[in-house]
Every structure is written in structure tokens, then in C-alpha cells.
């Protein structure tokens, strides 16, 4: 009985040390500037640019998609909760949103079935 308790305490202490060590090491994350994030998207002749881009943003920071398109489509922003935007066949449409939960947020073009960008939203 006694041995089991001591061993249990040792394991608990080890797990705690591991977590604290990991948290302490990663505590100082570098802060990106809080300017608005803008992504220019062009849809022409069934092709979209960019694809699979990576961006960084902060929680609550406005993110703007500036879309020029020659076809109607639908933009899906897979944040929690999701955002959906209707794209018309027109130049310079802007869609703005903010993300409230940190995570990797994918911006997808629904009908062309392409991932435009993944936005890393940090706390």
C-alpha cells in the first residue's frame, strides 16, 4: 500500500514537472504587429491565386479578404464558428471577419474546392 502511494506521488510529481517545464519554456512567444491582415484573392478562368498560403493573425484582429473574381462562388472560413461569404463575379469585393478562438483557420473556395490559405490565429 505504502509503496504504491509513494510511487503514485512520484509519477504525479514527474508529470507536473514535465508540464511546468514545457509551459515555462514556451511562455515567451513573439508578438506579431496588430495591423489588419489583408489577403488578396484572384479568381480567374477556374483558377485561384493564392492557394495553400499561410498567414498569421491574432484573436480579435480584423482579417480582410479582397476578392477579384470572374465567377460566382462561396468563401468558407473554417473558424469556430464558421463564416460564409458569397462571392460575385466582380472586382475588389471585400469581406471582413474576426476569429475569436485560437486555432488554424482554413479559408476555402467552395465550388472550386481549393484551400486558399491557412491562417494561424494566435491567442
Amino acid at each position: 500500500m505504502r509503496r504504491v502511494t509513494v510511487r503514485g506521488a512520484a509519477i504525479a510529481a514527474w508529470v507536473a514537472a514535465l508540464i511546468c517545464g514545457a509551459v515555462a519554456c514556451g511562455g515567451s512567444t513573439n508578438q506579431p504587429p496588430a495591423a489588419a491582415v489583408v489577403l488578396d484573392v484572384t479568381i480567374a478562368k477556374g483558377q485561384v491565386t493564392p492557394t495553400n498560403a499561410t498567414l498569421g493573425a491574432k484573436v480579435g484582429q480584423p482579417i480582410t479578404l479582397r476578392v477579384t473574381s470572374d465567377a460566382t462562388d462561396e468563401l468558407h472560413v473554417h473558424s469556430s464558428p464558421d463564416h460564409k461569404f458569397q462571392v460575385a463575379a466582380a472586382p475588389n469585393q471585400t469581406f471582413q471577419f474576426t476569429v475569436d478562438v485560437p486555432g488554424n483557420v482554413e479559408v476555402e473556395l467552395h465550388h472550386l474546392d481549393r484551400t486558399i490559405a491557412t491562417i494561424q490565429v494566435q491567442a
Binding site: 508529470v15 514535465l18 508540464i19 517545464g21 514545457a22 509551459v23 519554456c25 514556451g26 511562455g27 512567444t29 492557394t51 495553400n52 499561410t54 462561396e74 468558407h76 473554417h78 473558424s79 469556430s80 464558428p81 464558421d82 476569429v99 478562438v101 485560437p102 486555432g103 488554424n104 483557420v105 482554413e106 476555402e108 467552395h110 465550388h111 474546392d113 481549393r114 484551400t115 491557412t118 494561424q120 490565429v121 494566435q122 491567442a123
Partner: protein
């Protein structure tokens, strides 16, 4: 093409954001712990096997065993699970035919990840709650000629049918053209149910024990549970999971089954990386194939490659020892297979914990109103998901790294102990080195993928 029918690849068919990558420093700290511990273990640990599935354990009061084994308890649990299944099925068939349908969350989160958590806590629970088993037991009561036991289950198949079933699940989730498609998920479940019932009709309950993917998944994970049965008396005991782990039955296909679980989880991380996406888009453009189809084909190939790498590397590492004859060497991968379980469980929790906690809430909220008619019988409908893990990325990252490293450490301890039992004197140290290196390889790869590839 109408709007709802268009395909868009949602992460796990659920939409929403995915976890942030683990910071570099966390991954490095985890890797350093894993490496240090492994070699300290090989160099300094015990030289006689200590863990034994035949140990009696600490018995729980007799009343607990009586209660758990009571027919009334079993039927109550089975009936509750069956009612839950009917609820989900009614949502799937009659509910809103969109991605907010409760079926997707139940299938991909509550079933796939929730089953791991329950089996880890309480043992092989799928055997009790499996709705197909309950339906089979009910059908057996109808006097239509006694089913079951017409054929005996071919023992040479072992767990291979379950490995195929698990592959079918991960294919549906990670490689199918549209994992969020309700008709596809419904068809998957229909085929699963039909296969299970037909097999049980022919071969009896042994079919369900060997071929049900969720049953074998639950059974394998339950070997890490502190609760087990005393092998001599059948009474429930609480004991060291290290004594429970080696009791994993060694049957054909056991390594492949675990490789499907580990390989698919790793592929899930890898396939969301920009590297893979770029490669996939480029290849589909080069062949001029429709993107949805070519992406599905590429993902299927990627999934098979990941699973094969795990299965082959583990089998070779287990065999790489001196002092054993041909037959012993062939048996070694199966005899070591239980040591993969902690790595699988650690990595599944690292990868899917936020899914279980956050998407799990979403699934429960969706279930409260299965038909999308504004029902609110349990007062859940107005609730919002609490993003308890995602909102604190450092805590989530620390939990993930801890899961992976803990799984690794438990695995190397189990592998070391089993090597002492299996390998002949004089080869015990050198014989386990390859296995240790391969496990370090799995853990480093896992951490690298969590770090973002």
C-alpha cells in the same frame, strides 16, 4: 451543381478550426525527455521481467463484480446504448441534411475518440454497449432456427477483419472524396451493421469479438486500463496497467490493427500540412484529373504508405535480435504488439483531445435537437461550446506533448520488460535496441507532425 451538394473537404467532416501547431520549444523538450528516458531505461533498468498478466491485482469488493456482471446491468447499458443509436439514426435520416446534422459529430468524435477515453477508464466497454451486438442478441431470441455457430470463425483470420474495418473508418474520415457527406456516412454505417450481423449470424459472437473494428479498438485500448479481471477467479480487480498490457491476445493481424490506428493519426497531421496540400494540388493538375477525385486517390495512397511504414518498421524492429530460431523470430512482432498500444493512445489523445472536448460538446448540443425543429427537451439547445482547450494554446500544447511523451515512456517500459521475458540471455540488451530506436522514431515523428511538419 447545387450549393449543398458541392464537395468541400472539411477537416474530419466537421468544419471549424484545427489546433495550432505545438511551439518548437515544447516539441524539443518532449523529444529530449523521450530520448533521455529511453536510453536511461535500456542502460540502467531492471534485468528480470517484472510485469505479469497473471498477477492477482487488488480485488474490488465482491458487490462491484456482482453488480457489473448482473444481467440487469448489462441489459440496461445495452438498452441505453441502443436507444441512443436509434436517436442518432433518426437524426441521420430525418434530421437536417446539412453538415450540422448530429450524425457527423457522433461518428467522428463521440465514437472514434470517446470510445478510447471510455475504454481506457472502464475496460472493453464496446462489448457491452455495441448496438450491433444487442440487435444480434435480440434477433437470436426470435425462434427462426437457431443462428450462430453454423460455421466456426476461421482462427487464421485473427484480427484482420477488424483491421480492414478500422481502415475503412480512417479512409472515410481522411481519404474519402467527402468525409462530411451524410449519404456516405450512412452507407458506411449500413455496410458495417450488415457485415457485423451477417458474420455473427454465421459464426456467432466470436465474429463480433474478432471482426468488429470498434470492438477490437476498445479491447486493445482497455489493456491500459487499471481495471481488469483476475484471470483465476474472474473477479474485478484494480492493478498496475503494466501488468494488464501484456494480456493483449496475440493473433494474426494484431500488429496491422495497431499500425492502422497509429499510421492514420500520423497521416491526419501530415495531410493538413501545406507541403502535402501543395503536392496534392500540383499532382492533380499534372494529371488533369478532377481535384476531388485525385485528392482522394492521393490520400488513399498516403494513408496506406503511413500504415505500412508503421507495420513494417515495427515488425522488423521486433525481429531484429540474435539468439532465436526462425519460428521464434516470426512470433516476435505479435508478442511485442502490446507495447504499441500506449504510443497509439498517447498520440490519439494528443491529436484528438480538443476534438473530443470541444466538438464533443457540439455533437451533444446537436443531438438535443436531432430533427432541427427547435426542440429543447434537455435545455441544451441554447448552450454554446466552451472552447476550454483551444482558448489556452500553451496549456493545450503542454497536454499534447505530455500525452505523446507519456505514451512513449509507457511503451518503452512495456517493450523492455517483454524483451527480458522473450529474448534469450546474452541478447536481451542488443535485441531491444532496434525496438527502442524505432519507438524514438515514432515519437520524434509524432512531435514533428504536432509541431507542424
Amino acid at each position: 451543381m447545387n450549393t449543398d451538394g458541392a464537395t468541400v473537404v472539411l477537416a474530419h467532416g466537421l468544419g471549424g478550426s484545427s489546433d495550432l501547431p505545438v511551439p518548437y520549444a515544447y516539441a524539443m523538450v518532449g523529444a529530449a525527455w523521450a530520448l533521455t528516458f529511453t536510453f536511461a531505461l535500456v542502460a540502467f533498468a531492471w534485468r528480470r521481467p517484472r510485469f505479469d498478466p497473471l498477477k492477482p491485482g487488488r480485488p474490488l469488493p465482491t458487490a462491484v463484480t456482482t453488480l457489473v456482471d448482473a444481467r440487469a446491468t448489462r441489459w440496461t447499458a445495452a438498452a441505453a446504448a441502443l436507444v441512443f443509436t436509434l436517436w442518432v439514426v433518426s437524426a441521420a435520416v430525418l434530421g437536417p441534411q446539412t453538415q450540422s446534422n448530429a450524425l457527423l459529430g457522433v461518428f467522428y468524435v463521440l465514437l472514434w475518440v470517446g470510445l478510447v477515453a471510455l475504454s481506457l477508464l472502464f475496460g472493453p466497454i464496446w462489448r457491452v454497449i455495441s448496438p450491433t451486438r444487442t440487435v444480434y442478441l435480440l434477433l437470436r431470441r426470435i425462434p427462426l432456427g437457431r443462428p450462430g455457430g453454423r460455421l466456426s470463425y476461421p482462427e487464421g483470420w485473427g484480427y484482420r477483419p477488424a483491421a480492414v474495418g478500422l481502415f475503412a473508418f480512417v479512409w472515410m474520415e481522411l481519404a474519402s472524396p467527402d468525409s462530411a457527406s451524410l449519404p456516405w456516412v450512412r452507407a458506411w454505417l449500413l455496410i458495417y451493421g450488415a457485415t457485423m450481423l451477417a458474420g455473427a449470424w454465421l459464426c456467432g459472437q466470436r465474429w463480433l469479438a474478432r471482426a468488429d473494428p470498434f470492438g477490437v479498438y476498445s479491447m486493445a485500448v482497455s489493456r491500459l486500463s487499471p481495471f481488469r479481471r483476475n484471470p483465476a477467479t474472474g473477479k474485478l480487480v484494480i492493478g498496475n496497467p503494466f501488468d494488464h498490457l501484456p494480456s493483449l491476445p496475440v493473433r494474426p493481424g494484431v500488429v496491422v490493427t495497431l499500425a492502422v490506428l497509429l499510421g492514420s493519426t500520423a497521416f491526419d497531421s501530415f495531410s493538413s500540412s501545406p507541403t502535402w496540400r501543395g503536392f496534392s494540388d500540383q499532382t492533380s493538375r499534372a494529371f488533369g484529373a478532377p481535384p476531388t477525385l485525385s485528392s482522394s486517390v492521393l490520400r488513399t495512397i498516403g494513408l496506406i504508405v503511413f500504415i505500412s511504414v508503421v507495420a513494417v518498421s515495427f515488425s522488423l524492429a521486433a525481429r531484429a535480435t540474435g539468439g532465436v530460431d526462425r519460428d521464434q523470430r516470426r512470433a516476435l512482432p505479435g508478442q511485442m504488439a502490446h507495447s504499441l498500444i500506449p504510443i497509439v493512445v498517447g498520440y490519439i489523445f494528443a491529436h484528438y483531445l480538443s476534438y473530443l472536448v470541444e466538438r464533443g460538446q457540439q455533437a451533444v448540443i446537436a443531438l438535443a435537437d436531432p430533427l432541427g425543429r427547435g426542440w429543447n427537451p434537455l435545455g441544451l439547445a441554447h448552450l454554446h461550446v466552451a472552447y476550454v482547450l483551444s482558448a489556452h494554446p500553451p496549456v493545450l500544447a503542454a497536454i499534447k506533448v505530455t500525452c505523446v511523451v507519456t505514451g512513449h515512456i509507457v511503451a518503452v517500459i512495456a517493450a523492455h520488460d517483454r524483451a527480458l521475458r522473450l529474448l534469450p540471455a546474452g541478447h536481451q540488451l542488443t535485441g531491444q535496441l532496434t525496438m527502442m530506436l524505432v519507438m524514438v522514431g515514432y515519437t520524434f515523428t509524432g512531435l514533428y507532425l504536432l509541431f507542424g511538419g
